[in-house]
């Protein structure tokens, strides 16, 4: 039996949305892998920014502009410290993981030649597939697949046989959003580096649950979105090793990313500014900084241990339901459970759960290749966060039981 953690009760006070009533029931929010909820600390940081500091940043001589620039740059430094990057110039603020990955894929257009190879894992989110497909079409580089196994883990033996001297970039998520499995990215990077291939790690689902250390991983690129780690929408980051960021051409053209502009010739600014064209999401960056402070205050020791309990509790109970099939049901996971119940359509199950006030995600989770692998067209995905309780787990499991009974 799992005892309710007393800290969680206090933590929940930070999240006004968790008191929301849906269809007569208190909401049980289990769609955290799609987006996490936002604590008052972050909401207030954003409001205060607009109430006291709002100004366009960089190159402004006036007070507010300086203050806004300092806040913006402070977030860059907070991210650097949080993921243990060497230099803050290695942190690019983007509008999210999708933008980060597109920026890198676009940059490789000038580097790749026909005959070069890219390796994508079968577990990827569309955000880490489509930009590379577009790149592959433009450059003639071949897109090869790092296949998954039945249990949801990656097949490293196949990976070794796909890797070769022509491999230029490997892109793998740190944690799969559809299954929650933590991938052996350090090993994947080590193997790729033997062939001098760059590795991009999509950390969108990892950063909410684990401490990331890009230096220890030796990742060439690492991405995440603030909205998955208690931060605001419209802001995210790209970590890139200095050598790589200097090598890649800029992505978008505009203000702030230039050095000199004439109609004949334009020269670009240094990193990180080269990649930050236009007015950035300044308030979003302020919120992102507040979110990093917030999760560090909660602490990853607590997050990891509480989430592990939630996952175990939910998995243990779900497994007992007749016809239950959990995809990627292994130990090494973040608290994400993707499942189906025999003869029940995931959409129906999600709809009934919603009527009970239980928010889960249903469908393909932007991972059609995984669905194709399992020969299904979707799953129900319950994803937990550190502010979820064991009582919510119980109500969720009861909800599933009740819904299945209605639907069968």
């Amino acid at each position: 039996m799992f005892k309710e953690n007393l800290n969680v009760k206090k933590i929940r006070e930070d999240f006004p949305i968790l008191k929301r009533i849906i269809n007569g029931n208190n909401i049980i929010y289990l769609d955290n892998a799609a987006t996490s909820q936002t604590p008052l600390q972050v909401i207030n940081a954003i409001s205060n920014y607009y109430k006291t500091t709002n100004a366009n940043i960089h190159r402004g001589v006036h007070f507010l502009s300086q203050e806004a620039t300092d806040l913006y740059e402070k977030t860059r430094e907070k991210i650097r410290a949080h993921i243990n990057a060497r230099k803050s110039e290695e942190i690019i603020l983007t509008s999210g993981t999708t933008h980060s990955i597109n920026l890198v894929a676009n940059g490789f257009e000038s580097i790749l030649k026909k005959g070069d190879e890219l390796i994508v894992s079968e577990l990827e989110h569309h955000a880490n597939i489509v930009p590379w497909q577009m790149l592959s079409e433009k450059t003639g580089a071949l897109l090869r697949v790092l296949p998954m196994k039945k249990d949801g883990t990656l097949n490293l033996d196949s990976y070794k046989s796909v890797l070769n001297n022509r491999t230029k970039v490997v892109f793998v998520n740190h944690v799969s959003n559809a299954l929650g499995i933590i991938n052996p990215v350090k090993e994947i990077i080590r193997l790729a580096h033997k062939f001098d291939a760059a590795v991009l790690i999509d950390g969108a689902q990892a950063t909410p649950h684990l401490i990331t250390n890009v230096t220890d991983l030796d990742a060439d690129f690492y991405t995440t979105s603030a909205h998955k780690i208690c931060g605001p929408t419209g802001i995210g980051m790209l970590y890139g090793k200095e050598e790589w960021l200097k090598k890649l051409p800029p992505y978008q053209g505009g203000g702030e990313m230039i050095d000199q502009v004439t109609f004949e010739k334009t020269t670009y600014a240094d990193i990180p500014h080269k990649f930050e064209a236009g007015t950035p999401n300044i308030a979003g960056a302020v919120g992102f900084g507040a979110a990093i402070d917030y999760i560090n205050k909660i602490g990853f020791d607590f997050i990891e241990s509480h989430e592990k309990d939630l996952l175990k509790n939910a998995t243990d109970q779900l497994r007992k339901i007749t016809g239950m099939k959990i995809y990627g049901d292994i130990e090494n996971k973040v608290p994400v459970i993707s499942f189906n119940v025999d003869k029940v359509h995931h959409y129906d199950l999600g709809t009934i759960l919603d009527k009970m006030g239980i928010a889960v995600r249903t469908g393909q989770h932007c991972c059609q290749p995984i669905m194709d692998f399992y020969g299904i067209n979707g799953t129900v995905r319950a994803s937990f966060a550190f502010y979820n309780t064991h009582r919510e787990v119980d109500m969720f499991v009861n909800g599933v039981k009740k819904a299945v009974k209605m639907l069968l």
Binding site: H345, H346, Y347, D348, K355, Q364, M406
Partner: protein
């Protein structure tokens, strides 16, 4: 019965339900019991792209009235389809064109028709109306 009358009838039926449970149990029952479309009309051509639950819709003009048949792989979607077909099938294109779907709102299932809903029902109604317009042109 006119489309309007059928709609009113359904609204009164649904008024009897005390809560969402009863309502959804009823829809699930409808979804389970109705044979909706013949297998050879369940073609890819007849598929309406919703994201999660597939919807097939087939239309035929029989004596100036449109006969709709449809299906879905999700049971709740199927239940709502049953209600929609009961209302719209067997009517003259003109009547279908002039009708609305406000009754869905009245029986508390409005969210299912939202264009952002991942069940294809919103698109199904659009498609249903498109058939009516197409056949109307043919008739006139």
């Amino acid at each position: 019965m006119s489309i309007r009358q059928k709609q009113d009838e359904i609204v009164s039926e649904f008024a009897l339900f005390d809560d969402w449970m009863q309502k959804y149990e009823y829809m699930i029952e409808l979804g389970k019991s109705l044979p909706l479309i013949s297998e050879n009309n369940k073609t890819d051509d007849n598929i309406i792209k919703g994201c999660q639950s597939k919807v097939w819709l087939h239309a035929e003009l029989i004596k100036e009235k449109i006969n709709f048949t449809a299906d879905s792989d999700a049971i709740i979607t199927k239940g709502i389809i049953a209600i929609l077909l009961r209302v719209f099938s067997g009517h003259h294109p003109k009547e279908i064109i002039e009708s609305d779907t406000e009754f869905i709102d009245k029986i508390g299932l409005k969210e299912h028709l939202s264009p952002s809903r991942a069940n294809g029902l919103g698109s199904m109604i659009k498609q249903l109306k498109m058939y009516a317009i197409a056949y109307q042109t043919k008739l006139s």
